[in-house]
């Protein structure tokens, strides 16, 4: 299929081609109230203004629900369900289509264009969803193996449970922030001499500040306490995908994580990209994840294993494709709810760090530098073992190669602020 063409001028390299139509929450200097929008080329289409200006006049199914486009988060829109997301996205594509069916809606309406099309550089972007709960998985097989080798050697790199279930932990919803929110270097208990026999912690700014390159997936359907989500129903529960940087304090983590898992090493900030790319936009890039050589229990068996997406991920260095996962989001949800854990619209699932097999394809510095034993060289020639104050980390992800048909995530950006000077 050749790329669709829009009457709106869109840079062919834009992540926000007419094939994408990702949803986010914007505000502007003139209109400070956060409200839903979609990104298209270098514009945001303000859906509050669009609905207000009768933009949905040709889509009767949405008219009773237009209040969702005046909410400060996407939760109400997400809760309408995937069939509605699909028709809204396709309708908006048709509104922007050259020689499309509805030229009078926006293309020929200068007033509505002026009211609803906002240059992206004028937009402040907000957290797209109100997140009730956030869970982070560990489905990046190569990452889990690399980290396992570092801490336990190659024989015991993967724990016995690793291939049987998507290992995960509950994260901290309050610490999920949108791209461009500064991340302050955390202070915490670390071991000054980890090798010493007597384990005496000191309080210190983190010295091993790291990134984790992940995908995040938002849930759009409630599931009740005690009611598992069947693996075949799970895709209908998934709203869309964002990039995620699960900042990690490796020295705090090493001291605190036994026996209950990571805690303060993770809850000082997790950055997500602002635009939610709908599952429907990713369908053309659906593919299988990593082969699992373990026979899975039936509740994790997907009929169609194409529930991973071929997304090229980068963070300055080239990083592998998002197909390097052992478990998919539907499998994560089916596992998460098998015991009856309830979900709310807006809940977030993280994939775990996505690493390829080569050094440059590793999604965390922990792996790239072997826990600080080696250094990596940045583009400008500077070297790093872990992150330094002032460092700006930018994650990027895009599906497709064809100019004018890219489905991308934009950037997921965070800058490291110095630790607080604390006194007690």
């Amino acid at each position: 299929m050749p790329p669709l063409k829009s009457w709106l001028k869109i840079d062919p390299k834009s992540h926000f081609s007419i094939h994408n139509i990702p949803f986010g929450i914007i505000s502007t200097t003139n209109a400070a109230q956060p409200r839903p929008a979609v990104a298209i080329g270098s514009y945001a289409l303000d859906l509050h203004a669009f609905a207000h200006g009768n933009g949905f006049s040709k889509l009767s199914i949405v008219q009773p629900h237009q209040a969702v486009f005046s909410q400060p988060t996407l939760n109400a829109f997400a809760a309408l369900g995937r069939p509605v997301h699909r028709v809204v996205r396709e309708y908006l594509q048709s509104v922007f289509l050259e020689n499309g069916p509805f030229p009078d809606v926006l293309q020929q309406d200068d007033q509505l264009q002026k009211a609803a099309l906002v240059p992206l550089e004028q937009c402040k972007l907000h957290l797209p969803m109100q997140i009730g709960d956030y869970t982070d998985f560990y489905a990046g097989l190569n990452h889990a193996y690399n980290v396992g080798v570092l801490f336990r050697g190659p024989q015991n790199a993967l724990q016995p449970n690793y291939k049987h279930l998507p290992v995960g932990y509950h994260g901290r919803a309050s610490s999920v922030v949108v791209s461009n929110t500064p991340i302050r270097r955390p202070t915490g208990q670390i071991l000054a001499s980890p090798a010493a026999e007597k384990k005496e912690p000191i309080l210190s700014p983190c010295k091993k500040l790291d990134i984790e390159l992940e995908l995040g997936c938002f849930v759009c359907k409630h599931s009740a306490l005690g009611e598992p989500v069947n693996i075949h129903d799970a895709p209908e529960h998934l709203f869309g995908v964002v990039l995620m940087n699960d900042w990690s304090a490796r020295d705090i983590q090493a001291w605190e994580y036994v026996p209950l898992g990571p805690f303060n090493s993770k809850n000082f900030g997790t950055t997500i990209s602002p635009w939610v790319v709908l599952i429907d936009a990713l369908e053309p890039f659906a593919t299988t994840g990593l082969e699992n050589d373990t026979v899975l229990l039936p509740y994790l068996n997907e009929k169609d294993r194409k529930s991973h997406y071929a997304i090229d991920l980068t963070f300055s260095l080239t990083i592998p494709s998002a197909t390097e996962l052992l478990f998919s989001f539907p499998q994560m949800l089916a596992h998460h709810t098998i015991g009856g854990c309830p979900f709310n619209v807006g809940d977030l699932l993280g994939s775990g760090t996505i690493s390829g097999k080569t050094k440059a394809e590793k999604g965390a510095l922990l792996e790239q530098t072997e826990n600080g034993k080696t250094e990596i060289e940045l583009e400008g020639g500077e070297k790093r073992k872990f992150l330094e104050d002032g460092d700006i980390v930018t994650l990027s992800g895009v599906c497709g190669k064809e100019d004018g048909a890219l489905v991308g995530f934009g950037n997921c950006v965070g800058r490291i602020e110095p630790a607080l000077q604390l006194k007690f």
Copy 2:
């Protein structure tokens, strides 16, 4: 100080003496909208009706904020801060006081009594707070030691970090439910033969369903990303305390918890008692926790270590006092935020299982039966290793011994429903 006396008839054994005044959320058949109330004797004082009927006429400080008493949760009231909680509680005490200063407010107003005093047996009780995030700690030293002995032997029972910081993990806010919500036995991956060399999980209803007797503490003050809460400010961030049963699936936990901690073994339900006992009501019972023989880092040093409370806890069998904790809620909050983790009003902190040193004082069956090796005998003569379907677990907690001056939590109740029959 002799007990205060009320003009309202209150059973001297009531947990809800005039010394208590705990806050909760009620609804009734006639008025289905959930709304705030306090418990006193065998009544709830409906604060929406009380405010509406001019009950706060003598408390000018509260009048601009009366809308908080028409909310479906206590979050807005909690957010007013501890000085306001204090005056509201003391005012309500004075309204109920025999020969008190305000007899015209309620005692002599039959109409307002009829509108606002609702027999507790007519009340449906709801979750008192909207919980954004829920964290569970592990501060019960005896519990941690007993469990450590079971799994690693007495030499390595406690991990090196245990006495240096309150070990904790992020829980699942969506699975916190109010007392009397049925708990369905979870299904999950367990090892059929844990001792076998080849670790092959099966999908099965949990066979080692357990309780964990804990206290929960609600937070009433926002703290921002990157801004630690100082240990000396922490008490002002704490709203009140509830009983908590952190239901646990021990066989699911044993298989899943390495290396990221407990997950589906915990997120199928955590039951809390419906009435939040304010910190002010607990102050007369303030005392020190367990002595910590480890020198703490300064950020965890409390000036006044009396931030534990002498609460007698029971669950059918007699269970120890809540002073058996190594870390206090202020220490938990100071530690939780030291790296910058933000908090929202309504966030919940769990203490961890509270166990004494004798068998009958152990707050989980895992400890009482040594992971199912022995049995305990219930009052009726029945025996248990772990919970069976239909079992009803009731936690109870009360401060004080003096008739008419008890400060109690009421009950925290859950009944085990059979596992779902799942087909794939």
